[in-house]
C-alpha cells in the first residue's frame, strides 16, 4: 500500500486529495459521460506530478540522524509519511489473526496558509488510515479506511508523548515508566475499532530500531531525493484483546512497525511493489521489498535486510535473493490477479522459505484496493526447520500492462 498511493501513483502533490476527489467524483455518478471524460482527464495522475509544490518540501537526500522519540512524531517538512503496524496474533485457543493499522499523513502546500489567526480546523495535513483484520479460522477478512484533516484534534501525530491518531484509531505511548528503563522506544498502545471489529494491543519493542538503507536513508530510485527516511521496529511483543462482533479474544503475538517519511521517492518507471516482513521462529526477521518497473522487471533499487537476534542487520541485494510465486488468486471484486504463495531463497544465508497466506482473500476493500495480508512461513535454515509469520504487501497488480504481467 504504502508506495502505491503515496509515492508511486501520486508521486508529487495532492495524493489524498486525488483519492478523495476521485471518491467524490465517482460516488454519486452525477456527471454525464462527457463530463466524466473531462474530469478524468482533468485529474489524470500526471497532472499532479508537476512537482510544483513538492519543491516546497524538503527531500530525503542525505543521511540524517534518526532520533527518538523525535522521529516517532510527524515530519511536516516532508510531504508524506506513515506509521505502519502489522502483526500476527494468536488467541489462547490457537486461533490465528493478522492485523494491519496504518496511518498516513500527506502535507498540503506548506506555503498556502497566510491567515493571521486561523481557525483550529485550518489544516496543512490530510490523514488517511487503513485498518484490516484477518481471521484465519473464521475465514474472514475485514478492512476499513478513514480520512480526516490533521486539525481540530481529529487526526495528528506527536512525538512526546508519542501519539498518532485518526479519530479513535490511535497508537500512543503506554505508561511513562516504560521509557525510564533507558529504552529508545516506549511501549505503545494500539487501539482501533470499526464495527464489528475492535483491537486493543500493548506493543513492546524487544529489539532496537533498525535503520534501513544508509543510516536510515533508504534510496528508492536513481535520483538524489528519490529516497525516504525509514526505520523499522521488527519485533514488537504484542498482547491484548481482539474482538469480532460479540466474540472477544485475548491475543498474543508479534507486531512490526515501519516508519517512513519522504517527499518524492519512487522513480517514474516504478509501478508496483512487493514487500515482505517476516518474523522467523529463530528470533530473526527478514524485510525485503521488490520495486517493479513498468516493463515488469525488478528495479535495481529493490533491497532488504536480515535482522539477527541481537538486532544487527545484514543487507540483502537483489542478486542475493530469489522470490518465485507459487500460486495465484483472482479477486472477485476487482478481478485483479495476485500471486499469493511464494518461494523465497537466500542462498548465501542458507535460507529457504515457503510463504503461505493465512487467507487468499486479503485484498483491502478501500478506495484504492491492494493486497496486504498475514502469511505463515515454513522453511529451512541450513538443515534446521524454520517457521514463522509475517506480512506481505502487493501493489500495482491492477495495472497488468504497466506491470508487464506476462513476465511474471
Amino acid at each position: 500500500m504504502k508506495y502505491m498511493i503515496f509515492m508511486n501513483r501520486c508521486i508529487s502533490t495532492n495524493s489524498i486529495i486525488l483519492i478523495l476527489l476521485t471518491g467524490l467524483l465517482t460516488h454519486g455518478c452525477g456527471l454525464s459521460e462527457e463530463e466524466k471524460g473531462r474530469s478524468d482527464s482533468q485529474y489524470r495522475v500526471s497532472d499532479f506530478m508537476s512537482g510544483r509544490d513538492t519543491a516546497l518540501f524538503k527531500r530525503a537526500d542525505k543521511p540524517r540522524p534518526i532520533q527518538f522519540p523525535r522521529d516517532l512524531g510527524a515530519h511536516p517538512a516532508y510531504k508524506t509519511e506513515w506509521w505502519y503496524y502489522t502483526g500476527n496474533l494468536s488467541a489462547d485457543n490457537g486461533r490465528r489473526f493478522g492485523y494491519e493499522l496504518t496511518i498516513f499523513r500527506s502535507g498540503l502546500r506548506p506555503d498556502a496558509l497566510k491567515i493571521g489567526n486561523p481557525s483550529a480546523w485550518r489544516t496543512k495535513h490530510l490523514y488517511m488510515a487503513h485498518l484490516a483484520i484477518t481471521d484465519a479460522a473464521g475465514e474472514e477478512f475485514y478492512s476499513y479506511e478513514r480520512y480526516a484533516r490533521g486539525a481540530a484534534g481529529l487526526a495528528g501525530a506527536q512525538s512526546d508523548p508519542f501519539k498518532v491518531w485518526l479519530e479513535n484509531w490511535q497508537v500512543r505511548r503506554g505508561s511513562e515508566s516504560s521509557l525510564s528503563s533507558g529504552k529508545k522506544i516506549p511501549d505503545m498502545l494500539l487501539q482501533a475499532q470499526a464495527e464489528p471489529i475492535s483491537l486493543d494491543l500493548r506493543l513492546q519493542s524487544v529489539k532496537p530500531p533498525v535503520l534501513q538503507g544508509d543510516r536510515g536513508l533508504d534510496q528508492k530510485g536513481p535520483e538524489s531525493g528519490n529516497a525516504s527516511y525509514y526505520f523499522s521496529l521488527t519485533r514488537l511483543e504484542s498482547k491484548g484483546t481482539l474482538s469480532i462482533g460479540k466474540k472477544s479474544f485475548e491475543v498474543t503475538g508479534w507486531s512490526w512497525m515501519d516508519r517512513e517519511w519522504s517527499t518524492s521517492a519512487l522513480g517514474k518507471d516504478q509501478v508496483g511493489w512487493d514487500w515482505f516482513a517476516l518474523q522467523l521462529s529463530d528470533n530473526r526477521e527478514i524485510m525485503y521489498y521488490r520495486l517493479c518497473n513498468k516493463d515488469g522487471s525488478a528495479s535495481a533499487y529493490s533491497n532488504g535486510v536480515i535482522i539477527d537476534s541481537t538486532g544487527q542487520k545484514i543487507s540483502i541485494a537483489p542478486d542475493d535473493i530469489s522470490i518465485a510465486p507459487q500460486a495465484y488468486w483472482t479477486s472477485p471484486t476487482t478481478g485483479v490477479r495476485y500471486p499469493v504463495r511464494w518461494q523465497m531463497n537466500i542462498p548465501e544465508q542458507n535460507i529457504k522459505l515457503e510463504i503461505i497466506p493465512l487467507l487468499e482473500n486479503q485484498e483491502l476493500q478501500t478506495r484504492f484496493k491492494y493486497w496486504e495480508g498475514a502469511v505463515s512461513i515454513i522453511g529451512k535454515y541450513k538443515n534446521e526447520t524454520l517457521d514463522g509469520y509475517g506480512y506481505v504487501e502487493l501493489t500495482g497488480y491492477d495495472d497488468e500492462v504497466n506491470r508487464g504481467s506476462s513476465k511474471r
Binding site: 486525488l18 454519486g28 497566510k114 491567515i115
Partner: protein, 845 residues
C-alpha cells in the same frame, strides 16, 4: 333538442355567460393563486431545510445557538461516533442589496453520508478539495447561482457578514445532478468549516452537529449514547424539530391569506347564483313550453345543472390559468412578507401540484353547481303554466321572505355563537364569520323591501315618476336585485372590515412606535429591521459610541431566538437604564415591579407570547439554559408589535449567566439635550464609518417601520381589491340582466312617450338606488367584520391588542364604491336601452 335549446340560449347571451365565467374564474384564480404562492413558499422552505439537513435525522444543538467545536472532536475522535458532521451556518448579504446567500461551512471528510449534492465538485485548476481546505476564502457555489452572480472560477465575490465586508473566491462550481438537486443548491455558499469559522467570526464554534441515527433499536442506543456524552446546554433533537417550529411561525399568516382568498370565492358564488337564477327566469317561458312538450322536471333540473356545470368548468379552467399567473405575482408579495417578518426565504418558482388544481376544480365546479341547485330546483318545480309568468317567481320570493329572513337570523345567531365561543383557533374565527356573512346576505331581501317601502313613503313624491319607478322596480325584481345587492354589500363590507382592521393595526403600531422608539439614533446590523440577525456587533462598537461626548446613554439589545414548547420565540437581552424603561408599556403587571423582577433574574414577555403560551404575571416559564432547564418568573406582559411569535425579555447580565451568545444586534443612542438629532447621527455615522452598520435617526426608523408594515399588508390589500372586483362583476352582470330583461317594458315606456333621458334616468336611478342600499347594508356588516378581524382573528392569529380605529373616510369610501360600482354597471344597459328600436323591442316577445 333540449341541449340545443340550451346552447342556443347561452350563445344568445354571450356577455352574460362571459361575465359568469369571469366571476367563477376570478374566484377560482384568487383561491388558486393564494394557495400556489403559499405552497411555493412552503416548498422553498422545505428545500432550504433539506439542503441544510441533507440526510441527517438528528442534530446536536445548543440551547444558545452555537456550540464549541471541541464537542464534535470529542464525539468523533474520542468516542468514535461516526455519521456526524459539523456545520457552521449563517446568512450573508450581497452588499448593497437584500439578496442573501446561505453559508454552509462543512467538513468534506464528514460530509459523504449527509449531503449528496456535495458529491461533485467541478474543479479549479489545482484541485478543488485542496483549495477548498487551504484557500483562506475559497468557496463553492452552484452553477445557477454562479451564473446569476456572473461569477467564474477564481472570481472574487463580496459578501457582507454582519457589519463587515468579506471577499470570497470562487474555487469550485457544483452542478446539481437533477432538477431537485439544482434547486437545493440555489443560493448556497459552501465553505470549509475553517473558512466559515474565520469568515463568520465563529472560531471555535459550530452552529450544530448533524447526526444520522437509524430508526432501529440500535439507533435508540446510539442516540442515548450521544446524549450521555453531551455537555450541559446541548441537546440531541430531531432534525425537523427546528424547521417544524419555524414553519409554525407562518401558520397564522397562511390561514389568514387562505381565508381571505375564500372570501373572494364566496362573493363569486353570489355571482354564479345570480347568473343561473337569471337564466332560469329569462327562460321561464321556454321552460314552460318544454314542459308542455313533455320534458320532465328532472330533465329540466339536469339541464340547468349541466349549463351551470359548463359555465363552472369554463370558469374553472380560465381560473386555474389566471391563478397560476396571479400566484406568480402573489408569491413575491408573500415571500417578501415572510422575509420581512419571519425568516429568510427565497422562492424561485411557482410550485404547481395536483392538490391545488383539484381544490380549484372542486371549488369552481362545486360552488357553481351548488349555487345553481336553487334555480334549477326552481325551474323544475314550477308548473308549465306558472312558469310562463315571471311575477309568480317574484311572488314566491316575497312569500318566502319570512322563511329566508328567519334562516338569515339563525345563521347570524350561529355565527355569533361560534365567534363568541372562547377559543384560540383562528379557524373557528372564520368558521363563525362565514354564517354571519351568509346570514346577513339572506336578510338582504327583507332589507330591500323595507327600504323600498320607506323610500316610497318618504321621498317617493319628491323624485317624481322615474324615481318611484326606479325604486319600485328593485322590489319587483327582488329575486335578482337582492342577490346583486347582497354580493355588492358583502364585498363592500369586506372592504370596510379589512381596511378598518388594517388601519386599526396601523394606528396601534404607529402609536406604539411613538413610545417604543424614543432614542435619537438607532444602530443595527444591516438587514431587516424586524428579523433576528445571525451575526452581531462586538462590544467595541458600543464602547466607541459610549465614549462620544454627545452621547448621554446607550441601550443595547441582543435579539436571538429560542425554542419554547416547540415554538420559535424571540429572546431579547437588554441593557437598559431607568429612563429608557418607559418605552415598554405593560398590559399586565405593575411596571415598577416588573422591572424589579427582571433585574432579579425574571423575564418580561410580550403580549403575543403571553397569549400563545397562556402565561401571565406570576407564572414562570421554563427555558433551557447552559446548565439545564431553569425557571424564570414572569414579571410583566408588555405591548409589542414587532414580533408575532412572542418575545422574552431578559436582563443582559442575567442572560450572560445563562447563555454564551456575545455581542449585540442593535443599540439605541440618546443624545444630550443640547445635541441636535441630526448632529448626533452625523457623529455616530462618522465614528462607525468603517463598519457596515445601519444607522438611522428616530424619524427614519419610524418611517421605515411603517413602510415595512404597509408592505406586509400589500397581499391583503390585493386580495381585498380582487374581492371587490368579483363583486363588481357580479353587480354588473346582475344589473345588466335585470335591465336587459326589461326590454319590452322599456319599449312600452318609450312608446308611451318617455324620453331617452327619462329612460336613462329610470335605469341609472335604479342601479344607483341598489348601490345605495348595498352601501347602507354594507356598513353594519363592515363594522362587524372589522370588529371580528381586530378582536377575534387578529387576536387569535397574533395575540395583539389593537385599538379599533374607526374612520369616516373608510365609510365614505365604501359608500362611494357601492354607489359608483352600481352606477357604472347601470351605464351600459342604460345607454343600450335608451338607444333601442322601440318597435323591435315591443315585438321581442
Amino acid at each position: 333538442m333540449l341541449w340545443r335549446s340550451s346552447l342556443r340560449y347561452l350563445l344568445k347571451h354571450p356577455l352574460q355567460v362571459a361575465l359568469s365565467v369571469l366571476g367563477v374564474a376570478l374566484g377560482v384564480a384568487v383561491v388558486v393563486g393564494i394557495d400556489l404562492s403559499i405552497q411555493s413558499a412552503g416548498r422553498a422552505f422545505e428545500q432550504s431545510t433539506d439542503r441544510v439537513a441533507g440526510k441527517a435525522t438528528h442534530r446536536v444543538v445548543s440551547v444558545d445557538e452555537g456550540l464549541n467545536d471541541s464537542v464534535y472532536t470529542h464525539l468523533r475522535a474520542r468516542h468514535g461516533i461516526r455519521k456526524i458532521a459539523p456545520v457552521v451556518e449563517q446568512y450573508v448579504y450581497i452588499p448593497g442589496t437584500e439578496n442573501q446567500l446561505h453559508v454552509m461551512g462543512v467538513d468534506p471528510f464528514a460530509e459523504p453520508p449527509f449531503r449528496p449534492y456535495l458529491e461533485q465538485l467541478q474543479a479549479a485548476e489545482d484541485g478543488p478539495l485542496s483549495s477548498f481546505l487551504m484557500h483562506p476564502s475559497g468557496a463553492v457555489l452552484s452553477k445557477g447561482t454562479a451564473d446569476e452572480l456572473d461569477l467564474k472560477i477564481s472570481d472574487t465575490l463580496q459578501v457582507r457578514v454582519g457589519d463587515q465586508i468579506q471577499n470570497v473566491e470562487l474555487i469550485g462550481i457544483l452542478k446539481g445532478r437533477d432538477q431537485y438537486n439544482r434547486q437545493v443548491l440555489e443560493d448556497l455558499l459552501i465553505l470549509d468549516v475553517s473558512t466559515a469559522q474565520e469568515m463568520l467570526g465563529m472560531k471555535g464554534k459550530l452552529s450544530y452537529i448533524d447526526v444520522i441515527i437509524p430508526q432501529s433499536e440500535m439507533g435508540t442506543v446510539k442516540a442515548d449514547r450521544i446524549r450521555s456524552l453531551l455537555p450541559g446546554g446541548l441537546e440531541l433533537q430531531r432534525s425537523n424539530t427546528r424547521s417544524a417550529a419555524i414553519e409554525k411561525m407562518i401558520s397564522a399568516f397562511k390561514t389568514n391569506l387562505q381565508s381571505l382568498s375564500f372570501l373572494a370565492l364566496i362573493v363569486g358564488m353570489f355571482l354564479i347564483y345570480n347568473t343561473m337564477t337569471f337564466s332560469v327566469l329569462q327562460r321561464r317561458a321556454q321552460i314552460g313550453r318544454l314542459q308542455a312538450l313533455g320534458v320532465t322536471r328532472s330533465e329540466i333540473f339536469r339541464l340547468i345543472l349541466v349549463e351551470a356545470g359548463a359555465i363552472g368548468l369554463l370558469g374553472t379552467v380560465v381560473g386555474l390559468v389566471g391563478g397560476y399567473v396571479l400566484g406568480g405575482g402573489l408569491v413575491e408579495l408573500v415571500t417578501r412578507t415572510i422575509n420581512d417578518i419571519y425568516f429568510n426565504l427565497s422562492v424561485r418558482e411557482v410550485a404547481v401540484n395536483a392538490g391545488i388544481i383539484l381544490k380549484g376544480v372542486a371549488l369552481g365546479l362545486g360552488a357553481t353547481l351548488l349555487t345553481a341547485l336553487i334555480p334549477a330546483r326552481e325551474a323544475a318545480r314550477s308548473s308549465p303554466r306558472v312558469s310562463l309568468s315571471r311575477s309568480s317567481v317574484e311572488k314566491g320570493l316575497l312569500d318566502r321572505l319570512p322563511t329566508i329572513s328567519a334562516i338569515g337570523f339563525i345563521l347570524i345567531g350561529v355565527g355569533s355563537a361560534i365567534l363568541l365561543y372562547p377559543s384560540n383557533q383562528i379557524f373557528l374565527g372564520y368558521a363563525g364569520l362565514l354564517p354571519v356573512i351568509i346570514g346577513y346576505a339572506l336578510l338582504t331581501p327583507l332589507f330591500v323591501v323595507g327600504m323600498v317601502w320607506f323610500v316610497r313613503r318618504g321621498i317617493g313624491s319628491v323624485s317624481g315618476l322615474s324615481g318611484r319607478m326606479a325604486v319600485q322596480n328593485i322590489k319587483d325584481q327582488l329575486s335578482r336585485s337582492s342577490v346583486a345587492i347582497a354580493a355588492l354589500a358583502v364585498a363592500v363590507a369586506a372592504t370596510i372590515g379589512v381596511s378598518t382592521s388594517i388601519s386599526s393595526f396601523r394606528d396601534t403600531v404607529e402609536n406604539w412606535l411613538q413610545y417604543r422608539l424614543q432614542a435619537d439614533v438607532f444602530v443595527s446590523v444591516p438587514g431587516n429591521v424586524s428579523r433576528r440577525q445571525a451575526r452581531t456587533m462586538d462590544e467595541e462598537v458600543v464602547s466607541d459610541i459610549k465614549d462620544l461626548g454627545e452621547v448621554k446613554a446607550v441601550h443595547t439589545l441582543l435579539r436571538t431566538s429560542r425554542i419554547y414548547e416547540g415554538s420559535v420565540v424571540d429572546m431579547e437581552a437588554i441593557e437598559i437604564t431607568l429612563p429608557g424603561r418607559d418605552r415598554y408599556r405593560f398590559k399586565e403587571g405593575d411596571p415598577k415591579q416588573a422591572w424589579n423582577i427582571l433585574e432579579k433574574g425574571g423575564v418580561l414577555i410580550s403580549e403575543p407570547m403571553a397569549f400563545d403560551h397562556e402565561v401571565t404575571v406570576g407564572d414562570s416559564i421554563n427555558l433551557e439554559t447552559r446548565r439545564g432547564k431553569r425557571s424564570f418568573p414572569v414579571g410583566g406582559v408588555f405591548y409589542d408589535y414587532s414580533s408575532d411569535i412572542g418575545t422574552i425579555l431578559m436582563d443582559r447580565g442575567i442572560f450572560n449567566n445563562h447563555y454564551r451568545e456575545q455581542g449585540y444586534t442593535s443599540f439605541s443612542i440618546v443624545g444630550h439635550s443640547n445635541v441636535e438629532a441630526e448632529q448626533l447621527t452625523d457623529v455616530v455615522e462618522r465614528k462607525l464609518a468603517n463598519r457596515q452598520l445601519s444607522i438611522r435617526s428616530n424619524k427614519e426608523l419610524r418611517t421605515l417601520s411603517m413602510q415595512i408594515f404597509d408592505r406586509t399588508f400589500t397581499v391583503t390589500r390585493v386580495l381585498q381589491m380582487l374581492t371587490v372586483l368579483v363583486a363588481l362583476i357580479g353587480v354588473f352582470s346582475a344589473l345588466m340582466a335585470i335591465q336587459l330583461e326589461r326590454t319590452r317594458e322599456i319599449g312600452m315606456l318609450r312608446a308611451l312617450g318617455f324620453t331617452r333621458r327619462q329612460i336613462s334616468g329610470v335605469m341609472l336611478g335604479q342601479t344607483g338606488a341598489m348601490g345605495t342600499i348595498a352601501g347602507l347594508l354594507a356598513l353594519p356588516l363592515g363594522f362587524v367584520l372589522a370588529v371580528v378581524l381586530v378582536y377575534v382573528i387578529n387576536k387569535r392569529s397574533f395575540g395583539w391588542t389593537l385599538e379599533l380605529a374607526w374612520s369616516y373616510e373608510v365609510l365614505w369610501q365604501a359608500m362611494g364604491i357601492a354607489v359608483g360600482a352600481a352606477l357604472l354597471s347601470g351605464l351600459y344597459p342604460a345607454i343600450k336601452m335608451a338607444g333601442m328600436n322601440v318597435v323591435r323591442a315591443l315585438r321581442e316577445e
